[in-house]
Amino acid sequence: MSPILLEILVVSLGFGLLLAESFWGSKDRRILAWVAVAGIGAILLAGFAFCPADPVAPDARGFAAFYSADALALFFKRFALLTTLVVLVMSVEFLPAFGRSLEPSRPQAGFGEFLALPVILCAGLMWMASAADVIMIFVALELVTICFYILVSFLRRSSTSLEAGTKYLILGALSTGFLVYGITWIYGVTGQTTLGGIAQAAADPALSQPHLLFGLLFVGIALGFKVAAAPFQLWVPDVYQGAPTPVTALLSVGSKALGFVVLVRVIDAFRFNPELHAKLLGGVAVLAGATLIYGNLAALPQNNLKRLLAYSSIAHAGYLLIAVVCVAGPALGFYLAAYLFMTLLAFLVLTVVAEAAGGDEISRFNGLAARSPFLALALLVAMVSLAGLPFTAGFIGKFLIFAAAIEAGHWVLVTLGAVGVACGFHYYLKVVRAMYWKSADPSFPAIALSPGTRLTILFLIVAIFALGIFPQPILTLLR
């Protein structure tokens, strides 16, 4: 079975959901959500069972040349599917808030669309993982971004959601413009659109390097926007905070991870030209340093968990960029996998608790340990893993990335990273402090948890510990 069937299945599921939404009438749309979860889950399992890795042959022509199904692509297709699955579960928990802020009289109206869009977006993410041609990259990226334009501003009665949507639209459109502009320059210099072709053309030392670098600069800016690297991170805090929480999770995990895959593929296309390659990595190193400093320092004073997670997502982009600089593929992949589990866990708990307590501020988590020990433990695990404590996946991720940086002798980045880790302990433990030390406001209602959500949380906790203790399976998948 060709991996492209996976994308086709996902798109069909998305359209199916849209159709179902039209004919569902007044029946409970949570059923629809669980159908979507089951569908994505089935596709994920099918992907494991039937899709062998199949890299692009160097002499490939036509479709085969711009659709790569190597191990990296397969890994991130599964990554996108898993992310979407958890985001759909999160959407179910988000349903009450969704209804409140749209049409209180018909609380479930339009919820099917809110489920179908992430699924279609998922197909875009999966396509991005395989894109081996700059045009394909552009198309996939646009599919993802346009879905996000709608999703971010989905709560059209809420001014923060609309503000987030506008910001994302304007900056997203700008970055798209940069991307296309950069691509045309690269095409102009190399005469190629496939990454394989560009790689061969770029190996020619007679190539005009300034022109190529100029084009790459613009592509880099566009990708910097996607992965939230400083100084292209300005949109992140407001958009993350304003968007519906499941969308924020998708934005922070899916969009970022696949942005990194594209970044790695583009940089890798210039590996045959060591001089140019080194220049590109140097540029990324500067971005990494700036991102580490900005993300970690700006996260320190935050007292809204959603906004804190936004800044922490910038900080994690910094660590990930270190892996890009060191050309440490396994470290990057592992870190992203760890990031997926811990960030989604944090957002899932956030969705549940925010719905019950009526807000995202850290103070809403006061005394959570007494109100709901299970959720408190889950968020503790997520925070501890994000901070990078041992026996969690986050630690192994940091270990691999710092090991790569030390091996390559990037001591400036190691130092900045170490400062960042220390800051990280401070702001992640703020959440732990609220949950365990503070006493709860008696006005907070009890928190109800659906069995599906409980199961998902349990799965994420187990995954974080399992990867923290036995990391080898992920590294094997990435080979």
């Binding site: 192994i396 880790v421 220390a422 401070h426 402090r433 030390w437 990391p471 080898q472």
Partner: protein
């Protein structure tokens, strides 16, 4: 099954049991007793004839990096494991009968114990490191939730400090790993000394690795000026947490210096000897004076535990087997004595509601047993003959005086030793003063009608005193087991 593995899994299993609903206190106590039995069993069964590691076990975890869950123990690690087990048992035993959210409280204590046991039993540097970090969050929760005084500030400080220090340590360990020849890179402590002996680490990198290790471990051991987390945290921590942390966990850093820094980057350590001497004098003299100035027993004990780390550093700075043997002995002796003192402070607070010297006095008349044990503990802490601390400090001073770089007649290590000797006087001053103001003189209002420790609760204190006396009268028994691990250090034997 491997006794070391059981020693780590037992407290973890107890945590699982407690969370599943078993009676927390009783299960924790049983786990502590089991740990002591296992540690004893390992001590007896240990085959020391080779002076190497016994009870080896290895399960590959990250084959790409050659990282395995590898356990093994030699004389030194067995002593540390025994200390961990004994202090865990006593800490659980002196924990209050009535405590809010009992499950979480005892789970946290057992997690700290498991982390310490894991760190001392690991022969893989990676696991050695991460087991120590396992204790971080339980400590944070214990101090923050059940502590006293400015507990939240103290918990915050200790956690951020230790997390940052550990990270520096991690960078140091990774730098060490990458300084090895590419085909021989390993985290395996049983093989590292041979590898380094065959192909020593280049001096340029050894120097910086040693600095990273000194700083990283130094923060964990509260080396001056990175000590500020310790007194506050110990003063605020619930008694069992203070006992476990000051008694056992803090020894991890010194153990690491002996295990990793001294044998693997000796040249690097030599470069920083003078810096280390300066800082350890800060511990002994500056913090010694700060200890005298304390007006509260818990704060004073916190400072004194930091101060005594100066001696331990002196033994390491001596870079010879006598001094380091003394440090190894001090790890055990100080671990027992500081745990005992914190336990006593807890009992006093429970009875009088205060640890301020001005509120206390004359307790010995109504609580003679507490008075007697406190006196013995104070003597041990000062380093009076008959207690293990005396033997340890003596060895450290001998070792340190016998080594060092030449400098105007005396060498720097000798000068530092002469200055450090004053620490003994300092600790006598504050310990005896503390004894006087708590137990002697006119009976203060708070201390009237105080009951002595009930007979059934005496055994943890008696056990600790007995072990201190035993180790003090027969230090040879411990040294005979520890020394082979030190003699195996290639650099130290070359010097003798």
């Amino acid at each position: 099954m491997n006794p070391l593995n059981l020693l780590i899994l037992l407290p973890l299993a107890a945590v699982a049991g407690i969370l599943a609903g078993a009676p927390a206190r009783r299960l924790a106590l049983a786990a502590g007793a089991g740990m002591v039995l296992l540690a004893l069993l390992a001590l007896v069964a240990y085959d020391g004839s080779m002076g190497g590691y016994d009870f080896l076990l290895s399960i590959p975890v990250l084959p790409d990096w050659g990282i395995s869950y590898a356990l093994g123990a030699d004389g030194l690690s067995l002593m540390m494991l025994a200390l961990t087990a004994v202090v865990t048992l006593c800490a659980v035993a002196v924990a209050p009968r009535q405590v809010e959210n009992e499950k979480a409280y005892f789970s946290c204590l057992l997690l700290i114990a498991a982390g310490a046991a894991g760190a001392f039993a690991s022969t893989d540097l990676f696991f050695f490191y991460i087991f120590h970090e396992l204790a971080l969050i339980p400590t944070f929760l214990l101090i923050g939730m059940w502590g006293t005084g400015e507990r939240q500030r103290a918990a915050w400080k200790i956690t951020i400090y230790l997390a940052a220090g550990s990270f520096v340590l991690l960078v140091g360990l990774l730098a060490l790993y990458f300084a090895l020849p590419p085909d021989l890179r390993t985290f395996d402590l049983t093989r590292l000394p041979e590898i380094v002996a065959a192909s020593p680490i280049a001096e340029g990198s050894a120097k910086w690795i040693a600095l990273l290790l000194i700083l990283g471990f130094g923060v964990l051991i509260s080396l001056f000026p990175f000590h500020t987390w310790a007194p506050d945290a110990y003063a605020s921590a619930p008694v069992p947490a203070a006992m476990l942390h000051a008694g056992v966990l803090k020894k991890f850093g010194l153990y690491g210096l002996i295990r990793v820094a001294v044998p693997l980057v000796p040249e690097g350590m030599r470069v920083w000897t003078d810096l280390l001497l300066l800082l350890l004098l800060g511990n002994i003299l500056v913090l010694g004076l700060a200890t005298i100035a304390q007006r509260q027993l818990d704060k004073m004990l916190g400072y004194s535990s930091v101060m005594h780390m100066g001696y331990a550093f002196l033994g390491i700075a001596s870079l010879n087997a006598t001094g380091i043997g003394g440090t190894a002995l001090l790890l055990v002796a100080h671990g027992l004595s500081i745990a005992l003192l914190f336990a006593l402070a807890g009992e006093i607070r429970q009875r009088t509601g205060s640890l301020d010297f001005s509120d206390l006095g004359g307790m010995a008349t109504c609580a003679p047993f507490l008075g007697l044990v406190f006196g013995l503990a104070a003597f041990a802490s000062v380093g009076l003959p008959g207690f293990a601390n005396f033997a340890a400090e003596l060895l450290i001073f001998f070792g340190a005086f016998g080594n060092g770089a030449p400098f105007a007649g005396f060498n720097t290590v000798q000068i530092a030793t002469v200055l450090a000797l004053w620490g003994v006087v300092i600790s006598a001053v504050y310990m005896l003063r503390a004894y006087r103001s708590v137990f002697m003189g006119t009976t203060a209002g708070r201390c009237k009608g105080v009951t002595d420790l009930p007979f059934g609760s005496r055994w943890p204190l008696v056990l600790l005193v007995a072990l201190l006396l035993l180790a003090g009268c027969f230090p040879r028994w411990i040294l005979d087991r520890v020394n082979p691990s030190l003699k195996a250090l290639p650099t130290l034997t070359a010097q003798r």
